[in-house]
Symmetry: C2
DNA sequence: TATAATAACGACATCAGTGTCGTTATTATT
DNA sequence: AATAATAACGACACTGATGTCGTTATTATA
């Protein structure tokens, strides 16, 4: 009576397969990637891989789960000693900067997956709750600013949060498709910050002459 | 010596196949759609369809060409007797309204195609020039407003045009994924109009009390 | 070191989609 | 009506991916 390997080793195998999957996905995209591709990339055997994952879809779900965990650690961004507006500026510029790196990475794969997942109606609630969570995370940040008296918003904070995501995702997709240069990610980001500043009614202490 | 059918009839066949392709694409998406599906949907034979189209990709390109022709007729929107800002408002609201209808239509299919086309590097210049054309069309509209003295823009008109597209495409994708309701298309559109009004520095004649 | 348990392997049968091509049906001309 | 030209058909061979399963290799325990 002896289970052959420790759970750690099984977990390591799982990671190994997921790493191969990431390489395949970034090279071929989600839909075009096959089990065969992942098997060959992983260096394992067909049967070995199937022991852990029965489809590329399952791999993708696990990869999404991983990034979600990373994102979950984001709300602690708002430092109590600095203005909320500053946090927003940093957040926007950080997200815009990540586009370039993401173009060669998993970002387009995620977009591709989400658009095809939408069609199959599966994960409908998963996707919706992800959206809701992201929106309300930003709303909470904005509310903090309003509570501190930094903002005197002209439109609903929820609307502003949604606009932020619409803009960001759209720009990211354009950056992926047409390149960072052509899309002028920096310029757009600064423009959007100016727009947000107005919509939020940021009360600027220093810049009132 | 006699060509069997007139060119009109061949064109009719072509339309028939494309119509079937649209139904298949909207049902299954671009990547999942196969020649087999289109053949069965069209009511024609395998060989018959292959006589006109050798791949779903070719069908897709023709469909894109058709919609491009429709879009080409859009720049004449700016009426000389009305303020440019009014045109922009109408345009934005019109685009936002089209999302609902588009959710069940070809819009997600186009997005899916573009993201997979990007990966294959083919059509790179096609896609880029489409983007450039759309941007410069809006820029021309905005320049007309500036020339008339309606606007006193705070940021470059090109940046504003790009922001407009980023926002629109992002919101459209969200609307497709999460539904019109949850995304609050109307609210976001009004919010974006307020933001644009500020960025453009719209000189409001009536509303200055 | 023996062995029980199971992780890992890889060949195999299967299936769905593809592109072709010899045959048949259709239609403008003579 | 005859026929030449070709549009349309659909069966066929082919390809590439899938999921399974009997076999082999590996390792924790006794």
């Amino acid at each position: 009576m002896s289970p052959k390997v420790a759970d750690e080793h099984k977990e390591a195998r799982r990671k190994q397969i997921l790493a191969a999957a990431v390489r395949v996905f970034t090279r071929l995209g989600y839909q075009a990637a096959t089990m065969k591709d992942v098997v060959e990339e992983s260096g394992m055997s067909r049967g070995g891989v199937y022991l852990y994952y029965g489809s590329t879809e399952r791999m993708m779900l696990d990869l999404i789960g991983e990034t979600d965990e990373e994102v979950a650690g984001m709300p602690k961004l708002a430092r109590p000693d600095r203005p909320v507006w500053e946090t927003i500026e940093q957040l926007m510029r950080h997200l815009a900067g990540g586009v370039t790196k993401g173009a060669a990475g998993m970002a387009p794969v995620f977009y591709e997956f989400f658009i095809t997942a939408w069609r199959k109606r599966t994960y409908e609630t998963l996707m919706e709750s992800r959206y809701d969570q992201n929106v309300s995370a930003v709303v909470r940040l904005l509310e903090e600013g309003a509570r501190r008296g930094e903002f005197q918003p002209r439109v609903s904070l929820e609307t502003i949060a949604r606009m932020l995501f619409s803009f960001h995702d759209g720009m990211q997709i354009h950056a992926i498709q047409f390149g960072d240069r052509r899309t002028d990610t920096r310029g757009q980001t600064e423009g959007m910050l100016a727009a947000l500043r107005h919509l939020l009614g940021v009360q600027d202490k220093e810049e009132q002459p």
